[in-house]
């Protein structure tokens, strides 16, 4: 768990670094897309995924549909998984705190599954992708306003 938490903290630090970017594209490294890494992160690593691919997609309130931005991010993740066949990932679904704990556990799982299913449809092997839901218990943004809630409705891919 600590390992995964470190990933989330790193991701948050990155988000904070480009705070002016809207949440729907924040994970995609300023829109640099799938271009080769420039950060010096080891290819195929968690850092590479976060910095050069985009580790997370965002959802509308109470929804699990993938937006155009979300699909673009997942396309890059699927390509990246194709390049590094030894890497396994976990997709964690999260929710804002505007729902009950119990319902949000299931909603987070629904979001994680939606992202996972898209990756599999794009050619990633389902055996390399595990899913988990944290409901509203692992927020990325610690505030309580529309911006924070938008950041917390997500599915975050991390290297296992």
């Amino acid at each position: 768990m600590n390992f995964k938490l470190l990933g989330a903290i790193a991701a948050f630090a990155l988000l904070a670094a480009c705070a002016s970017t809207p949440p729907t594209t924040a994970g995609a490294a300023g829109g640099s897309g799938a271009t080769a890494g420039t950060s010096g992160a080891m290819p195929g690593s968690e850092e590479d995924l976060v910095a050069n691919v985009g580790d997370r997609v965002f959802y509308a309130f109470n929804q699990s549909n993938l937006s155009g931005d979300a699909r673009a991010t997942l396309d890059r993740q699927a390509n990246w998984l194709g390049r590094y066949p030894q890497v396994s990932v976990q997709v964690a679904g999260n929710c804002d705190d505007r729902g009950t704990e119990e319902y949000n556990l299931a909603l987070g799982q629904r979001r994680a599954n939606a992202a996972r299913d898209y990756l599999v449809a794009r050619g990633a092997s389902s055996s390399r992708i595990s899913t988990i839901s944290y409901g509203k218990d692992r927020p990325t943004a610690l505030g309580d306003n529309e911006d924070a809630w938008a950041q917390n409705r997500n599915a975050i891919t991390s290297v296992r």
Binding site: E102, Y103, L105, R110, G143
Partner: protein, 476 residues
């Protein structure tokens, strides 16, 4: 970790006649699931509950009918129990503290200020009723403590001041380590004799303790007496835990744990400390609740984009699916007779409450108010379902099982997860305060209790932030 199981603790009870009569009428052991026995008719004055006029400040019998609309709290005098010196004196004072606290906090009694007491001495074998009536007491509690250590005997008597009658006389013998429980048991007897329905003070709350920053919260399973005392942590916080629920008769809970990063429902025997995964499911399991007879657990399993409701028999561990809607069906809860199940589903687009038969048939929606609804829980009395309502703010409310008579009891930024006291008279839930800045300042959660008529809302003291409360059954 050593866990003291209440059911294993011996407390013997005997009934008392009027002072001076000195007759022991009956002796028995209090244990789990055993109701307090009615006393033999000769042992007490027969003062049946009377309904009708609301209680005036004084000058009337203390016995009232609680099913009436809200009444003025009953003025009750509880002088320190007398001891035989030393430890028994202190115990007499401490017991009265527990009893007074229970009765005051339930909102239905008004313990009188000891500074107003005129003379607590008896008039011969009987209390000096004039002195108690003069300060407005309708009911009087007197008691005596003898012994200490491994054998403490606590006598208590409940008096109706105006008719000058003994309503109850009982003596308890136990070890001094059990003294708080004796206080709660006495408070329950007073509640039941004066209000005509069972109390809820000899109970515990299992809940989730939360510490640390909001994005890396340490969550531990915790248990305490209903008044916040005897708090103990049952897990060490290595893994996230959620939604503990009490078994209806055994010292056992069902809860959800992220142990080994696999969120699943477990059972936890509090006596032995043994934890067991419940059922053999591929997906995440969540939302456990015991069936009313304690033979099974009903829960949800996520699958694809939804979650289905299953019942898992505790004996065979076999699971039977009850819903298959493709939607999210969570938070199932049985009716007290076990014949129906209320649950939360988004099958109609947004979250609403539905009821189905215990076999999964006859599903019908019951919530039609403004907003979305979740976490339904059936009252032990059967007549109400409490819920969380979601909209711009969150609310705790109750409705009848047919969906009629919706009433909101408490509303704020985030309140959720009601649980009923075993007598169905009080709800506990948790209230989360929102963060006021991007660093999470101001975020926190507390347990809150409220009378089902919507008054007497109060924060329950816990040593850390707290959420997910579940009330135990009555222990005695």
């Amino acid at each position: 970790m050593t866990l003291v199981s209440k059911e294993s603790v011996g407390i013997s009870e005997e009934s008392l006649g009027l002072p001076g009569a000195g007759v022991v009428h009956r002796r028995r052991l209090l244990g789990a699931g055993a109701a307090l026995l009615a006393l033999p008719a000769g042992a007490r004055a027969q003062t049946p509950p009377v309904s009708g006029q609301p209680a005036a400040a004084s000058g009337q019998s203390a016995v009232i009918d609680v099913n009436r609309a809200r009444t003025e709290p009953i003025p009750i005098a509880i002088p320190d129990f007398t001891g035989g010196g030393g430890d028994s004196d202190r115990l007499g004072r401490d017991l009265v503290g527990v009893i007074t606290n229970d009765l005051r906090n339930c909102g239905l009694f008004r313990p009188l200020d000891p500074a107003s007491f005129i003379n607590t001495g008896a008039a011969g074998d009987l209390p000096n009723f004039q002195n108690w009536g003069a300060i407005g007491a309708q009911a009087l509690v007197t008691g005596r403590v003898e012994g200490g250590g491994s054998s403490v005997r606590v006598e208590f008597r409940l008096w109706d001041v105006l008719p000058q009658q003994q309503i109850q006389g009982t003596a308890y013998t136990t070890t001094s380590g059990n003294w708080r429980r004796i206080g709660h048991i006495i408070a329950d007897v007073i509640y039941e004799r004066l209000l005509g329905e069972k109390g809820y003070f000899d109970t515990r709350i299992v809940y989730i303790s939360g510490t640390g920053p909001r994005d890396r919260r340490t969550r531990r399973l915790a248990i305490m007496d209903q008044d916040g005392e005897n708090n103990r942590f049952l897990t060490d916080g290595s893994w996230m835990v959620l939604t503990p629920r009490f078994h209806p008769t055994r010292d056992e809970i069902a809860f959800m744990s992220y142990a080994n990063n696999r969120p699943r429902v477990y059972t936890f025997d509090l006596g032995s400390g043994r934890q067991q995964v419940l059922g053999d499911f591929e997906g995440m399991t969540l939302s456990p609740r015991f069936s009313p007879d304690g033979s099974a657990v009903i829960l949800s399993e996520t699958r694809g984009g939804g979650a289905d409701i299953y019942v898992v028999e505790l004996g065979s561990r076999s699971a039977r699916r009850l819903t298959n809607s493709g939607a999210i069906d969570v938070s199932p809860c049985y009716s007290p007779d076990g014949s129906q199940i209320v649950f939360n589903s988004d099958r109609g687009g947004d979250q609403q409450l539905y009821i189905m038969g215990a076999d999964g048939g006859g599903v019908r929606r019951i919530s039609y108010g403004n907003g979305q609804y979740g976490t339904p829980v059936w009252s032990p009395r059967g007549d109400l379902i409490a819920f969380t309502r979601l909209g711009g703010s969150f609310a705790i409310g109750v409705m009848h099982p047919d969906g009629s008579g919706e009433r909101i009891l408490s509303e704020s930024f985030d309140v959720e997860g009601p649980t009923f006291a075993p007598n169905g008279r009080v709800l506990m839930f948790w209230r989360t305060s929102p963060a006021t800045n991007s660093r999470g300042a101001g975020y926190g959660s507390r347990l809150v209790s409220i009378d089902i008529t919507g008054f007497n809302e109060r924060v329950v003291q816990t040593p850390t932030d707290a959420s997910d409360p579940a009330w135990s059954p009555l222990a005695s």
